[in-house]
């Protein structure tokens, strides 16, 4: 056998061996090191896409990259300037690469709007806008309801890094869950920042009781102010003599009748020094066990049983020749004027002055779950001329705030009223009596509260039942996936014979405002066992990830004959054998 023949047989043998091994397809199990899965998430799919691609390229040699959330991933790299929305789905550790923004940029950090609003009020919407690198340019902020621009504000940007609070207003035209969209731009519509919110506009009227143990001008004019306001249903009793009173509506006979008083969200008391100890006890029970609000309107400073209610504070008084202006920035910027004033020398802890200046003429304090408001503007009623004083607006706004603070028997709140199809909707229900039961037990020390059970059921319009879990006394929480089709859905909750509803609007695309602070992003990444780094240190990301994400070693079954590369030696062996035969002239 010559060497040529030997070569030919060897080549043929190799080809046949490869073919046989491929047919057999042997499987081998061994412990192997695999590339960990890392999710790279661009917070802004447009602005951060290029950087996310760079990060992916930087890591692709060592990790298996996924640019969508992946269950069971070994880690996550967030690319952008803000905390991503679905943060609960991300795998820890989370690293953040903060984009180095060049040029002017604008982002909506936060949009503040009430969840509910009465239809007879204007809805304040505050947009917190962060503007970078746009000194000297003009910021346009527009509030839209559907296709319609309902408010528009323009502001000049004066510094390179500026955060502006832009007050916008929506005037509702009908009760509905209204989707609102805030758009902030620097004149470049393509790079506008957009955020959506929804406001549930309802035809709500607050039941309010006005109680005067003796006639009082102060209380009379405050009552007239809120009687003019369609947001209130005012019931009143003015005791004009012993067993003689002037009533409007059907007021309760006594203030110590909690069942009767519980029908009202707020109780306004004129001349409180004339209240009896029983009346004061009734008012305290109203605040502690009902969570209601009480407004005391003093028209003179005189001691009385009500001192216990306000905390037995020491009082100071003053009488000015000319009326002084009492400003309350929190109360719709309205002002009062009064010349006779009374105020506590020192406010109790937890109490809050509603007026500016050193003298807390009007202040409020929590009493149990309720709220107590005390006015020491003794003769403010004398200066109620609208051209000089905001008397009506002040009291209408303050009493609306107080009445709105009183919880209903059952309240339902959804975490987000505007959601995308399939997005989780968190439902929070509060049963007032159950939530205040411990107080009730403490206060009365009776057994009627013990053993009381609360039955709660919830359902969404799409037909799905919502499982609510108790998370505290009288507090329940549940989650449901938003329906897949757009529309206005009602979440109904029934508890102890009470029924309450919240609305959820499902829209195809929902944009939310999120803070773009790198510091916040860093804190958030730290809380997820990671850290943040600026874009310029991108090269260090790989080593840092390597320190916390170890390649996984696992038992793996592999098939050595399955790679396509085997074709190459197979073809090469057959070709070589054929070439040798042809060179020898063999067939």
């Amino acid at each position: 056998m010559n060497r040529d023949l030997l070569f030919r047989r060897a080549l043929r043998g190799i080809a046949v061996a490869i073919a046989l091994a491929a047919v057999i397809d042997p499987a081998i199990s061994s412990r192997r090191t695999t590339k960990p899965d890392v999710v790279i998430l661009a917070v802004d799919s447009v602005e951060d896409r290029a950087l996310a691609d760079r990060v992916a390229k930087n890591l692709e040699n060592r990790y298996t990259i996924s640019q969508t959330p992946l269950a069971g991933a070994s880690g996550t790299v967030v690319v952008g300037n803000r905390v991503p929305q679905p943060s609960s789905d991300l795998s820890a550790p989370v690293f953040a690469v903060v984009a180095n923004r060049t040029g002017a940029s604008v982002s909506l950090e936060q949009v503040i709007a009430p969840v509910h609003a009465p239809s007879d009020a204007r809805v304040p919407v505050v947009a917190v806008v962060r503007v970078t690198g746009a000194r000297g340019r003009t910021l346009d902020v527009t509030l839209r309801s559907g296709e319609l621009a309902v408010d528009h504000i323009t502001r000049a940007v004066t510094t390179d890094f500026q955060t502006l609070r832009i007050p916008l207003t929506y005037v509702p035209t009908a009760p509905a869950l209204v989707p609102l969209r805030v758009t902030a731009s620097l004149g470049d519509a393509d790079r506008a920042s957009v955020a959506d919110v929804a406001v549930d506009v309802r035809d709500r009227r607050w039941p309010v009781l006005v109680f005067d143990p003796r006639p009082s001008w102060m209380s009379t004019f405050v009552r007239r102010a809120i009687e003019r306001d369609p947001r209130f249903v005012v019931t009143s009793r003015v005791v004009t003599s012993r067993n003689v009173s002037s009533d409007a509506g059907n007021p309760p006979g006594r203030l110590d009748d909690l069942a009767a008083l519980a029908l009202y969200d707020a109780v306004i008391v004129g001349a409180p020094e004339a209240l009896s100890p029983q009346d004061v006890a009734g008012l305290e029970a109203f605040m502690r066990r009902r969570g209601g609000s009480v407004v005391l309107l003093l028209d003179q400073r005189a001691p009385g049983p009500y001192d216990r209610l306000v905390g037995d504070v020491a009082w100071a008084t003053s009488t000015a020749n000319a009326p002084v202006t009492i400003a309350a920035p929190a109360i719709d910027s309205a002002t009062l004027r009064a010349s006779d004033l009374a105020w506590p020398s020192q406010l109790l802890g937890g109490a809050e002055s509603l007026t500016t200046g050193a003298r807390p003429v009007i202040w409020r304090s929590s009493v149990g779950a309720g709220e107590l408001v005390v006015s020491g503007a003794l003769d403010a009623w004398r200066f109620r001329d609208p051209s000089m004083s905001g008397f009506d607006r002040f009291w209408q706004t303050l009493i609306a705030e107080s009445a709105n603070a009183a919880p209903p028997p059952l309240s339902v709140v959804v975490a987000e009223q505007l959601v995308a199809p399939g997005e989780p909707v968190v439902v929070h229900a509060t049963v007032r009596d159950a939530a205040l039961r411990p107080l009730l037990m403490n206060a009365s020390n009776t057994s009627n509260a013990s053993g009381a059970r609360t039955s709660v059921s919830a359902r969404i319009d799409s037909g799905a039942a919502i499982r609510l879990w108790p998370v505290g006394l009288g507090e329940f929480r549940g989650t449901v996936r938003a329906p897949s089709t757009r529309g206005d859905y009602r979440v109904s909750v029934v508890a102890d014979g009470n029924r309450a509803e919240a609305h959820v609007l499902v829209a195809p695309s929902v944009r939310r405002a999120t803070p773009s602070s790198p510091e916040l992003l860093g804190t958030w990444a730290g809380a997820h066992a990671g850290m943040w780094m600026p874009e310029k240190y991108l090269d260090d990301l790989g080593p840092m990830l390597a320190r916390v994400i170890q390649p996984a070693v696992r038992l793996e079954t592999w098939h050595p004959m399955r790679p396509a590369w085997w074709l190459f030696p197979f073809v090469l062996a057959l070709s070589g054998e054929w070439w040798l035969r042809r060179r020898r002239g063999l067939p």
Binding site: R122, V171, S246, A248, D312, L348, G349, A351, G370
Partner: protein, 698 residues
């Protein structure tokens, strides 16, 4: 030239001419095509038929020039073109064309010309140069252009016209509105003519003549006060004349064939003719004269927004007292300086000698100005008094300063302040001036006193005649009153303090009249103290009851106790603010319109109706006028098919309307606290209170 050569050249000329025509047709077609593009793009906007035709002619002209110029070489070498399209020629025509340009008479030339002539006789220029395609293109583009010309919103059929289901049936429409404003004749202002205005500002009383050109059988004209239907006049226009007296609008609606067209809204702002303003700038205050021989230097300023007609100074001399008052009136000649027709000033140095004023007499004078407006009342300035002092004298009731203005102007505090200042200046003054000024303060003190006397219903035992004897005290009555007070017979503590104050003021006035200031100051301060006591006791100073209102004390503690019953009313219904309600309804309508995904000409009527509704709420509010104008413009834009522009205008109208409502509403309250948060805050407050109270407990 040989006949054959001429025949060939004539043929070539015909072909060249045909080529030129074809080029012209192609150029014209291109020009019409460009005109079609401008009409579709609406740039320039098709404002009128003339403008549209002008654009067409220019573009067609440009097309012709370009086409004819670019084909000039083809025409110059027409023989080559014929040769190319006639294969059987075999260069015969080209040769003939070249030979034709030279004088040749040889055999070959003749042969070439003859055969070329025979050949061209068989040729048809229409086949060689077909023009059908060019003509078809020209016809097609012209047809499309005409269609665009006739479409709704084009220059022939106005914007408000919309084709209905049946072709050729159109809605009535307004083509043009001419408004001629003729101000009232007295104003001297010129007549003004406006074309298609959205808002007209006119002087009150102006005549507003409307001339409306419309494709309609009739036109209805609606204002806030009326609605009229106008037929076409002989001039072909619909005319109507209004007199503008108040802010409002004019809504014009064409009608015909049982249909109505898009409304046009014209806002009307009426500027009222303000009355003249006249003021006596010098002396500008009441004066007290030592005798009747003084001279008053009077200066007057007067102004009017259109023009002043006259300015006079009138006086009334009052002499006598009690039931024997006599009055004499007259005018004081003025030296008037007319800065312009609207601003006049006047001065006079007025010697009072001629009035023969006696001590205690007074003269009341005032300036009177009038403008040219017919029927307008002259305007008077404030009246001032020049009074010749008599001891104890005071301005008579009826000629005193306006009580509403002056009632509280001179307070007791001010009397004290003036007295203190005069006492401080005593060393620097002559005795006479000192006495005069003290007497003037005495007059002011009496005025203050008189106001409080009136406040108590005029009941003061020691003041039988408030007008004339304010300083004369009845000692006996005074003493009796003091006894009453001391004995507690006067039950109203505030009333007592006021009586004491009034009496102290009387004493102060007496001391001031004699220029004895130290005791006067003592009495003044005592009066002030009593006044403070009176007001601090009751907070409200109630006027003393008149005889008719006096309580019947005999009925006290009579009656049946059980008759005193509870009074029950229904809950008070909130006041409906009709303005806010109307504005919110309008906003709702605008929101519904703006929320429409595809706006089109059919929405124009709704926009126009909303514009009108906004003005109906308050035609004089500038903000609402702007909103209405934006909606009216949106209606026009919608009629013209400019939906993007209309959407922008509706957005601005919405923002403006919301801004107008915003001031009427209050902010929605903040979201309520969660119960557990509220409980936590309440617990904190309880803990703080307990911690503070605990140490004091046993």
């Amino acid at each position: 030239m040989q006949p054959d050569a001429a025949s060939v050249r004539a043929f070539l000329a015909r072909v060249s001419k045909r080529l030129a025509w074809r080029s012209a047709a192609e150029g014209a077609a291109a020009g019409v095509g460009a005109a079609i593009i401008t009409m579709v793009a609406r740039h320039p906007a098709p404002t009128s038929l003339g403008a549209t035709l002008l654009v067409l002619f220019i573009l067609v002209g440009i097309g012709l020039l370009i086409s004819v110029y670019s084909r000039r070489n083809a025409r110059r070498h027409v023989a080559l073109l014929v040769e190319r399209r006639t294969p059987q020629s075999r260069n015969l025509i080209v040769t003939a064309d070249e030979l034709a340009g030279r004088e040749r008479t040889g055999y070959v030339d003749q042969l070439v010309f003859r055969e070329a002539a025979q050949l061209v006789e068989r040729l048809d220029p229409r086949v060689l140069v077909p023009t059908m395609n060019a003509l078809v293109a020209l016809g097609a583009t012209t047809g499309v252009w005409l269609l665009l010309l006739m479409r709704p919103g084009g220059p022939i059929i106005p914007s408000s016209t919309a084709f209905l289901g049946n072709a050729g049936v159109t809605l009535p429409s307004i083509e043009r509105v001419d408004v001629t404003v003729t101000p009232p004749p007295y104003s001297g202002r010129p007549t003004q003519t406006l074309h298609d205005p959205t808002r007209v500002e006119v002087l009150a009383g102006s005549s507003v003549a409307l001339a409306i050109r419309a494709s309609a059988a009739s036109v209805s004209i609606e204002t806030l006060a009326s609605r009229d239907t106008v037929a076409m006049a002989a001039s072909g226009a619909f005319t109507k004349t209004l007199v503008a007296n108040a802010d409002g609008y004019v809504a014009i609606e064409p009608a015909g064939g049982g249909r109505t067209g898009a409304r046009r809204l014209i806002g009307l702002t009426v500027i009222p003719d303000a009355p003249p303003r006249v003021k006596i700038t010098a002396p500008g205050r009441d004066t007290y004269l030592r005798d009747g021989h003084a001279t008053l230097d009077v200066a007057i300023d007067a102004a009017d927004d259109i023009g002043l007609a006259n300015l006079t100074l009138k006086y009334t001399k009052v002499s006598g007292s009690g039931e024997r008052f006599t009055f004499a009136e007259g005018n004081v000649p003025l030296r008037v300086t007319r800065t312009d027709a609207r601003t006049w000033t006047a001065r006079v140095s007025w010697p009072l000698d001629s009035l023969a004023l006696e001590p205690g007499d007074m003269v009341v004078y005032r300036a009177i100005a009038a403008d040219h407006r017919p029927g307008s009342a002259p305007v008077e300035s404030d009246s001032y008094i020049a009074e010749v002092l008599s001891p104890g004298g005071v301005a008579a009731p009826g000629f005193a300063m306006d009580p509403e203005q002056e009632r509280y102007a001179v307070s007791q505090q001010m009397v004290i302040l003036k007295t203190e200042r005069l006492q401080a200046r005593k060393a620097t003054m002559s005795a006479e001036d000192y006495t005069n000024e003290a007497q003037e303060i005495a007059v002011e003190q009496r005025k203050v006193r008189a106001e409080f006397v009136f406040m108590l219903g005029g009941e003061l035992a020691d003041a039988p005649d408030l007008a004339t004897s304010m300083t004369d005290l009845n000692e006996e009555a005074e003493a009796a009153g003091e006894e009453d007070l001391l004995a507690g017979r006067a039950a109203n503590a505030g009333h007592i303090a006021l009586l004491r104050a009034i009496r102290a003021m009387s004493r102060a006035a007496t001391s001031l009249t004699t220029a004895d200031l130290p005791p006067a100051l003592t009495h003044e301060r005592a009066a002030l103290k009593q006044l403070e006591a009176a007001f601090s006791r009751t907070r409200i100073l109630l006027r003393a009851l008149t005889t008719r209102e006096r309580l019947d004390l005999s009925r006290r503690l009579t009656g049946v106790l059980t008759d005193a019953a509870r009074e029950t009313h229904p809950n008070a219904a909130p006041e409906a603010d009709s303005r806010t309600i109307a504005l919110r309804r309008a906003l709702s309508g605008v929101a519904a319109l703006g929320g429409t995904r595809r706006l089109g000409p059919s929405d124009a009527a709704q926009a126009s109706a909303l514009a009108e509704r906004v003005l109906q709420v308050d035609a004089s509010a500038k903000q609402l006028q702007d909103v209405s104008a934006q909606l009216a413009n949106a209606a026009t834009a919608l009629s013209n098919g400019q939906s993007d522009e209309a959407r922008g205008l509706i957005d601005r109208a919405t923002t403006g309307l919301a801004s107008a409502i915003r001031g009427e509403l209050l902010d929605a309250p903040h979201d309520a606290r969660r119960i557990e948060d509220a409980l936590l805050q309440g617990a904190l407050r309880d803990a703080v209170r307990d911690a503070r109270i605990a140490p004091s407990r046993p």
